[in-house]
Symmetry: C2
Subunit: 399 residues, 2 copies
Amino acid sequence: MPIADKVREALGSASLIRKMFEEGSRLKERHGAENVFDFSLGNPDLDPPPEFRNALSKRAAEDPKGSHGYMPNAGYPEVRAALATACSLEQGTRLDRSCIVMSCGAAGGLNVVFKTLLNPGDTVVVPSPYFMEYRAYAENHGARLVPVPTLPDFSLDLGAIETALAEKNSAALLINSPHNPTGRVYPGRAIADLARILSAQGRRSGRFPYLIADEPYRDIAYTPVPPVLAAYPHSLVVSSFSKSLSLAGERIGFIAVNPEAADKEDIMNALSYATRVLGFVNAPALMQWIVGDLTRARVDAAVYARRRDCFKAVLDRVGIGYAEPEGAFYLFCQVPGGAYDRLFVDHLASHLILGVPGAGFGAPGWVRFAYCVDEKVIKASEPAFERALQSWQPPAAEA
Amino acid sequence: MPIADKVREALGSASLIRKMFEEGSRLKERHGAENVFDFSLGNPDLDPPPEFRNALSKRAAEDPKGSHGYMPNAGYPEVRAALATACSLEQGTRLDRSCIVMSCGAAGGLNVVFKTLLNPGDTVVVPSPYFMEYRAYAENHGARLVPVPTLPDFSLDLGAIETALAEKNSAALLINSPHNPTGRVYPGRAIADLARILSAQGRRSGRFPYLIADEPYRDIAYTPVPPVLAAYPHSLVVSSFSKSLSLAGERIGFIAVNPEAADKEDIMNALSYATRVLGFVNAPALMQWIVGDLTRARVDAAVYARRRDCFKAVLDRVGIGYAEPEGAFYLFCQVPGGAYDRLFVDHLASHLILGVPGAGFGAPGWVRFAYCVDEKVIKASEPAFERALQSWQPPAAEA
């Protein structure tokens, strides 16, 4: 008996990116990993900060009785309280532990939020380009992602968002700032505009759409990241320590619910329930304790800022245009001469440079490079970029 | 805007058990935790074995570079290889790492398996009583659980299973051995009979149903637990270290796919994909390394065996009947005089004894007591059991 139809379809359509990963592995095997410039993956290469190692050693030495067993599905009350305090500062809103649910990273958190809020047939509006997994997350729960275009500099097109939210089954607006893949950070003014649009829509229809902010890159930013919860009552933040503490593989994050949200108590009960029945059960116990102890620790974002500058200089010299990154660790670049991002990515790969085609993010004609790699790799890639651009010819039909 | 309709319904219907937990907390607050006999939760109280602490300390001291970042969604190849070797012995089938996907516990693993295998409208046949979360797991993926009765001693009713599997949308048979809540371990003969039924169904319909074995209690058994993969090619095992290493809160487990399964490569790709898009992304990194190092370590199941004997002696003396437990750490008991399990559980709670009504497992008239608690608690509960039984009167309508 075959696997599920939808999964089979998804594996088919995902095969382009998988092909790229596989090609990357083949290239590294053939040419040596040190000769391949792999900018394809958003896997932080920085070590966790020293406080992490101390906290881990301390925990391992103490290893208190019962500390690896089940706890309430929402997480340890002490950890939730510590994160509520930290999150209150970031979000300009007073949160207590009753607003926090620990999650298996932001990806787990988003699935828990979608399960909690979305009825089958509901839609989630998202500014495009967007992180490619959002579509599958919505579909897991019978809902549908509705991408809306952004302005040429990838800032929000408020009119387009307003129109999309007015559609019958719009349940939520999902934003991601600092943004993967564009590096955009939405300023306070944009958040205030969104709040105004969401409130107007709610008053008009009697149904206030939720504002869901996916914020795993909040601490990797080169400009202030404004609060979201302070701006609009029916809002949730989903975040993780994947980037801020370089713990992407440990699957630890949290959901923060606005204390002013309508149905807040229902939402909290439902988030616990969804955490349980989706099979997460709870965020990993040991990492809960550790992130609860480390609310002030961060990797050094200045390292990413230096790499960004280094990568920008390379792109400037070889003549590739890009969106100015205000946060996260991606450079979203224009494919020279056209919309052939997949061909361009293949062409770059033949010069041992790996990126991700913008089509994967709903933005054909662009390519994403991740700069969570050593500065030496970025510098060393320049001659390869030069050679690749000299020999790059978009198909004639484009002219 | 309210939460999702289905979640709201589920919260409503789950409220009986939640009410019980809440009442438990209230009772402990009022009477002191040491005076409440809490047999409601399957949360192992044994410490992880000493090897675990050593492995954790060693890992914390070494903390190798990159060891908390992303790895392939299926898990670290070395860890998968180690578990394949261990699982080959248990399952009587030669597995290599290409058969293993690391999961966030067995609950996460089952959701990943269901997402991988089930089309909307498909059914999963399960012998009843059954672990109550299975129903929600199937519904998460648009599928439906079909409980089939077991024989009076909770052994498998092969005729009932055969009939249920012959229904049009039957995609899989889900078994759980050692069994929660009945403590039943299916003998090798029963597994062979199931294989025969599944094969006959496949030959008849052209569609071989999958056999999914949920085995988190394999190492807590008082009789040999026979292999499943050796018996039937289209089979998968889902397991965890929640009980064998007392790591329930760390969410670490695995899926093992029969190397002989049709579409095995498709299944493996789909399991990785499902792990990713359901938001697990991967099993927690640190715990993967640790369980990979500890394939021979186990908690001491003899402790559970002693508690079982102690609890049985209490039940024998007070006159409560139960299914003879062959594994896991539950005693599934007959409500004296009738089918009023919810009333009986309430009555026991008034005597500070906490159990779970059988109705939650599809078995009204029964009550589950978990004996993953100190033997002292079990012994001390006897006078409370005596008093409770003396004053227990099932409603007159039952007579």
